[in-house]
Symmetry: C2
Subunit: 338 residues, 2 copies
């Protein structure tokens, strides 16, 4: 996968940055039997090269993580708590925010087993990937952590490597029944061989890879797994975020939360392609967006795109009131008739 170039839709953005306070984790050590709650956000922005998330450098050379912090008594709502941590650690103005999932497996939190660590993951979308806001925060292409999820240029090499090892994993089941079960699960999540690939099932694929020991873990020697490592369960949260976003663009006009106020058809298409990790047919995508009434022309054009000047569009927020499910149905290659 080519490195994500951080050219922005809005390259001219420039605002004074200020450093953020690192959360102090030594406020009160949790007593045994108690519950701690961590709020984490996968903050996503779109760039021409693909979607990016805001990652915080790990302390002391550790694995990077998502912006996060503990739930505190002062937070009126969970989302408010999340927003306050994000505001403190980054300089982003969050647009759409939604809760993803609450993780709480006892055996998957490496730390003190006497304390129950709940982790509530959130997805947040921002319109422009501003300068990260602190020296510890940086925008990174999200496929860095999920290289097998990017099928825009055909099946990625990472997936080629993984597939062989996944088959080996399936065949290493203890009993014949277990092997069949593993093969079935493999077929359902990875679609075996590229056809039948379902973009949404990011978390299911990650969990399968995790169970099969095929993703890198913090502390493991390099090369043993695919993709970069994240702190705690943050990579799992990111997988959930990607899956949710991929699923949701199909039935809600959520992509526009990632777009600047005015954009071209191709920019919109490339954003969707980046999110979904697949390529789309240009004329059909155009027609789809047009006839869905999701956008309207601003009247202006831009010549920044290279060839013929492109008309600029804006999102028609009225569709939220008009149409029932104004999403961008992703085309699925039609099966040849049986």
């Amino acid at each position: 996968m080519p490195p994500v170039v951080m050219r922005q839709w809005f390259p001219r953005y420039d605002r004074s940055m200020s450093e953020s306070r690192v959360p102090e984790s030594d406020e009160a050590p949790p007593a045994p039997g108690q519950v701690t709650v961590e709020l984490s956000a996968a903050i996503v922005a779109a760039t021409p090269a693909g979607p990016s998330v805001l990652a915080l450098r790990g302390e002391g050379g550790g694995a990077p993580g998502l912006p996060s912090g503990p739930l505190e008594a002062t937070h009126r709502t969970l989302e408010a708590g999340l927003r306050s941590w994000v505001a403190e650690q980054t300089r982003q103005e969050l647009g759409h925010v939604e809760q993803l999932y609450t993780f709480g497996d006892r055996d998957r939190t490496a730390c003190d087993p006497g304390v129950r660590a709940l982790s509530i993951g959130y997805l947040a979308l921002v319109r422009e990937a501003r300068p990260a806001g602190s020296a510890d925060a940086a925008w990174e292409g999200w496929y860095r952590w999920f290289p097998w999820e990017d099928r825009r240029d055909g099946q990625p090499a990472a997936l080629d490597r993984l597939e062989a090892r996944l088959v080996a994993w399936a065949d290493s089941g203890a009993t014949a029944g277990a092997r069949q079960l593993r093969r079935d699960r493999l077929a359902a999540t990875f679609g075996t061989g590229g056809d039948g690939w379902i973009e949404d099932r990011v978390l299911e694929r990650y969990e399968l890879l995790y169970g099969a020991g095929l993703v890198s873990e913090a502390g493991a020697p390099p090369g043993v797994g695919e993709g970069s490592v994240m702190r705690a369960d943050h990579r799992r949260i990111l997988a959930t975020a990607i899956g949710r976003l991929r699923g949701k663009i199909k039935y809600r006009p959520i992509v526009f939360e990632l777009m600047p106020p005015a954009f071209t058809f191709l920019q919109l298409q490339q954003t969707v392609e980046g999110l979904a990790g697949i390529r789309l047919h240009k004329p059909n995508f155009r027609r789809l967006v047009e006839q869905q009434g999701l956008v309207e022309e601003t009247g202006e054009v831009t010549t920044e795109t290279g060839g013929r000047p492109a008309r600029l569009l804006r999102f028609r927020s009225e569709v939220l009131l008009e149409r029932p499910a104004p999403g961008l149905r992703l085309p699925r290659p039609r099966q040849p008739a049986a």
Copy 2:
């Protein structure tokens, strides 16, 4: 709405019941600043008359609630904790279980404000609505709590009553801008007038009604709101469950988790209609199910349906591996050309 008749697909089920232990809530009073976690399940079963949930009678004449209990240190995972509470309080064998949402607003928990009460809601599906398992548990049609959500026999009277009051609520906004915002939100969630009604948005509708003070609350005089009351935030969890289920049947074959091993087309259709709260076109539903390859014939027929004997079907679980999104697309009446 006619009262839900508890005739079962499986009326012949008969197993010795045993009383369940009521959870002791006095194990250790939470200290200020601490976090408590309650796990609650909306357990859903399908009956010919419509979907039902298992409700626990409220103690001392209080409002009924969902099976639930606090997260404990012995629970390995959140789902395991939920299952153990459900096993203790009911006699149901849960099939599909999925996490819905974590609620944690400080101001919406009526009890001790010093303690943060998290509430993690789950959706669970069971194949047969067995006898409730304890004298305190009972199956209830879910539209009892959401009468405005049942559009199977046209727009329900409850919604008629509500609409007038919702418009009044919208028009009582402080500023012109607030009024427009309220009208827009109303249009988006309720579809104003019946067309544009989107089944999934159950929670959004409930939250709007809640905010407008139009749903019954515990302790309020009868008649002030529509629908029955539930303990704590359990009604909110149920709203989330209904919405999730309605959304999910469209892209995953989840209805079959509610069906007995063999069933007829009409039973399947009525189950879907009950869940979605709308009526479907019989021949088209048939064709849809057939050509989707979701079911296969068992070879047997049943005469219990009244007229011509109906063939019995079973779910083809293989489709989970074959097809990408094997859901039951719900038909949406086509708009007359503009």
